[in-house]
Amino acid sequence: MPVPESHEFFVDPGRCIGCNACVQACSECDTHKGYAMIQLDILDRASSPQTIPVVCMHCDSPTCAEVCPADAIKRTADGVVQSARKPRCIACNNCVLACPFGVPKMNTGMHLMMKCDMCYDRTSVGKKPMCASVCPSQALFYGTRDEIERLRPSSQPIHTFRFGMQEITTKVHLMVRRDSASALNVGAAFRLTPAGDLPGEDPLLAAMDGGTAA
């Protein structure tokens, strides 16, 4: 049974609290018990508790599959990009290096690329993925378009990303502010200047020194 079309996956980094419930729960999934296929990125703990859950975005044209010399990575008809097929994967690491979102990881013990398959064992039988079920702050949300629009009136889902010259559309959506553009220019979103400078002063941090924070 495929993943139902009516249900989609939404990631809202603004809600992430860095608790690792997604990572811990992912390793409880039957298809890869003991291994987490999601990772939690800590951006710059010295300056912020901001963290981001990194799941596979399930690209419409997956770069990982395109660069795979063994044709080991398949995208099923329902749009889910699967882990590398064991008999084919030659553990060359191309996919790991090429993915613009930094998702696939090499399981060196198994000589196999493993990644999030959107809890195929769960979503294909009508359950939510493990990470989106447990996520305490619902930074990871799985449900219908109607539900997300009702629950998140001040945000909007986007699924088009620009990495330099490469434009990618994905099955997984990222929640951004309602007034944002419909495609995310990834470099600009992280407020990196052309010279790679860090973002400007955070007003919340300035409050630590007695400034007004709002």
């Binding site: 603004g14 690792n20 305490p136 009136p153 630590m208 007695g210």
Partner: protein
């Protein structure tokens, strides 16, 4: 002085060993024999969870999507909680102290252990009187067990000395709520957070200590609510808030007073509510006159502009929900801090209505139910008062004993330790309390416990305090017993048994009853199930403020919990307190609050600084707290491998400016030293903490314990210790701590 750490031989035998998924827990083909809907064993939110059982072992979990509070959501502790069962450290038989045995304890038969506990209690009580034996119990116990412990102390042991670890948790909020509202419970269900336009969070690291509450707060924000966070650290819930007030630890009353003064100055008051539903306003209004924005800013360390903005938002809001937790409660003036919060709520008139609320976020699993039915030193079931003759007579009648036979109120948990130190208490029975890790100035606590003539502990692991015990009886894990608990919302819920106790381990209530029987005092301790205890508790609580008389297990399961008070089987329960026109057992229709006149009280809350403030010798402020992957003294979570991986060791958070002045860099070992002790830990240099404050999480024992440093100053009313502020100095360490403080 020898190290305060456990010996290698002890650790080898009793842990903590981090457990990991193996066997059927790792086998995707394992088909569970059954799935049991129950709740998480950790914090006061009590998330619903389905445990999967195979061959009498919990092998995993499934999110319980239908339970209304969390709808499947779980934090990492809940996800990995199942790994506490079938654990190599699990006590499956009783042990007795024996220096010649590996780790210092040898196994003994259960019956022999119970007989020994009873004979020692009997010997000490015959020699020194009934009050020479004390009990410590806890708020992670089910309400049935908590009730039984209170009854056991008063009726079986006839000792006044019982208290519980809720003393370290929510007693300041409880006392303030009783003074202001006449009842100690969250005023609103969490669903009211979703309906509000302003959320004020004071001293609550919501994202790490009550993670599921985050979704309520951010769902409110999604619907347009603004969020104000008051905390000395920029916590994950503060990261995206609308207004962040980085307060100097221990100065919360000043902030609330400053806000109230601005509310008065700008006439942001609900005059009709104050006139019709409160008393004491004039005195409190006059008392905040001195709290000008400038003075408030000086004392709290918050910018004047931020204070004005907070008052403006709070003053002009149409609806609001104020939440607080240990950050304002763990203080030598914790009750006054909570009263300050209540002042700005009452002055706004925004309580008792949809979207208008106030609550403490109770910390422990049964922090609410565990503080209602008699394991507190001055309390009887139903929230009744042990010093009140009518209350004594009623409960004595239920228990079938003369009212005069009930002891007088005892003392708080820390004072109980002092009485051990002074030799007044010589025997101790401890259940669900780990005082050496969780009490402040814990070198003193260990010295006191080592003076006991006899110390018996009931636990499922051999906890760090019980290293000083003579006998440890093997108790039950949360999943090995049934019962009820009451959540932070005031919702009574059902805990279901998933598996049986292993080996000679027993349900805690059976062990307590076995001791009563071995003492030759079984009367009143012959319950055959937790359900039978609940039946008596329903009668004992009837007519009290915390009235459970309409609550049955069948209803709890069918209705997904019931909010107390629930005074009759046909009563729907009371999700929201203080609704206009509502009836309660104390006011009897004269008003919505739980006093005979039905009115809430403005109770003066004068400002006082923390008991110990920084000086030239100890120039910084130490504040302590939790991390998301560990719970309280860590006796469970430090044995669960994936949670240990997430946070293996404690650390010291320092602001970069302070770090630079001290020559400290990220990862350096630094020693934090107070007048009580010292502790050497790696440094995390972060700009998310005030420069005058350092933070250490408290979940670890021995030389890594933050409570080597904390001060045993206590609130005069609630007796809560001041974990959140004491004076400390910090310096670069040459080598790890070796306990020679």
């Amino acid at each position: 002085m020898p190290s305060t750490d456990a010996s290698p031989a002890f650790t080898e035998r009793f842990g903590p060993h981090p457990s990991r998924s193996t066997g059927p827990r790792l086998d995707p083909g394992a088909v569970p024999d059954r799935a049991v809907n129950t709740h998480c064993c950790f914090c006061g939110q009590q998330c619903g969870i389905t445990l999967l059982v195979k061959d009498e072992e919990v092998i995993g979990f499934e999110p319980w999507m239908e339970f209304p509070f969390n709808q499947g959501k779980l934090c990492p502790k809940g996800v990995k909680r199942y790994l506490q069962g079938a654990h190599p450290d699990r006590l499956t038989h009783a042990v007795a102290a024996d220096e010649s045995a590996p780790g210092g304890f040898r196994p003994i038969a259960y019956d022999e252990a119970v007989a020994r506990v009873a004979s020692e209690i009997d010997r000490i009580q015959r020699a020194y009187g009934p009050a020479a034996v004390g009990c410590l119990s806890g708020a992670s116990l089910t309400t049935e067990k908590a009730y039984l412990m209170g009854k056991f102390a008063r009726v079986c042991l006839k000792t006044p000395y019982i208290d519980y670890n809720g003393r370290l948790c929510m007693v300041s909020a409880a006392a303030a709520n009783k003074k202001a509202f006449g009842i100690d419970r969250a005023a609103n269900p969490w669903s009211d957070i979703l309906e509000t336009e302003l959320v004020w969070i004071s001293g609550a690291n919501v994202a790490e200590c009550a993670p599921i509450t985050t979704d309520y707060v951010w769902q409110a924000r999604e619907r347009g609510a603004r969020v104000i966070v008051v905390d000395p650290r920029l916590t994950p819930i503060a990261r995206t808030c609308d207004l962040f007030l980085p307060i100097r630890p221990g100065t919360d009353i000043a902030l609330f007073a400053g806000v109230l003064r601005l509310m008065i100055e700008n006439d942001w008051l609900d005059h009709a509510f104050i006139r019709d539903h409160t008393i004491g306003w004039e005195q409190v209004a006059a008392s905040v006159e001195e709290w000008t924005p400038r003075r408030t800013a000086e004392v709290t360390g918050i910018a004047e502009g931020s204070i004005r903005k907070a008052a403006e938002w709070w003053g002009q809001a149409k609806s609001s929900f104020l939440l607080h937790a240990r950050g304002i409660e763990h203080s030598s003036h914790g009750v006054a801090n909570c009263l300050g919060a209540i002042h700005i709520v009452l002055a706004s008139g925004r309580i008792g209505r949809k979207g208008c609320g106030y609550a403490t976020i109770t910390g422990q699993g049964n922090g609410q139910g565990g503080r209602e039915h008699g394991q507190k030193c001055d309390q009887l079931p139903g929230g009744r008062d042990l010093a009140n003759p009518d209350h004594r007579a009623y409960v004595a009648g239920v228990w079938g004993v003369p009212p005069d036979s009930l002891p007088a109120p005892g003392v708080d948990a820390y004072e109980l330790i002092r009485k051990i130190d002074q030799g007044e208490i010589r025997g101790l029975l401890s259940l669900c309390f780990n005082p050496v890790i969780s009490l402040p100035d814990n070198a003193f606590v260990r010295r006191a416990l080592d003076k006991l003539e006899f110390y018996a502990a009931i636990d499922f692991f051999l906890n760090d305090s019980a290293r000083s015990a003579d006998v440890v009886l093997p108790g039950s894990l949360h999943e090995e017993d049934e019962g009820s608990v009451t959540t932070a919302e005031g919702r009574v819920i059902k805990i279901n048994k998933a598996i049986a106790c292993p080996g000679e381990a027993r349900e805690d209530w059976r062990i307590v009853q076995d001791i009563a029987k071995a003492l030759g005092r079984p009367q009143g301790f012959t319950f055959d199930s937790p359900g039978a205890i609940l039946e008596e508790l329903r009668v004992a609580s009837k007519g009290g403020v915390a009235d459970y008389s309409g609550i049955t297990y069948e209803r709890l399961e069918r209705e997904n919990g019931i909010f107390w008070p629930c005074p009759a089987e046909g009563h729907p329960g009371t999700p929201r307190l203080f609704e206009p026109g509502s009836w309660n057992a104390v006011a009897k229709g004269s008003g919505p609050f739980y006093f005979p006149d039905g009115k809430a009280r403005f109770v003066p809350a004068p400002y006082a600084p923390p008991a110990e403030v920084p000086d030239s010798e100890f120039p910084l402020i130490l504040t302590t707290g939790r991390v998301v992957s560990h719970f309280l003294s860590g006796e469970q979570t430090r044995r669960i491998g994936p949670l240990v991986d997430q946070c293996p060791e404690p650390f010291i958070e320092v602001h970069p400016r302070t770090a630079e002045a001290l020559g400290l860099r990220e990862g350096d070992l630094a020693t934090a030293e107070t007048r009580r002790g010292r502790c050497t830990l790696p440094v995390r240099v972060v700009r998310t903490i005030r420069p005058d404050t350092i933070f250490i999480p408290y979940h670890w024992p021995g030389t890594r314990s933050a409570n080597q440093l904390t001060i045993a100053a206590q609130d005069p009313i609630s007796k809560i210790p001041e974990y959140k502020a004491c004076a400390v100095r910090l310096f670069k360490a040459a080598a790890p701590s070796n306990g020679d403080a």
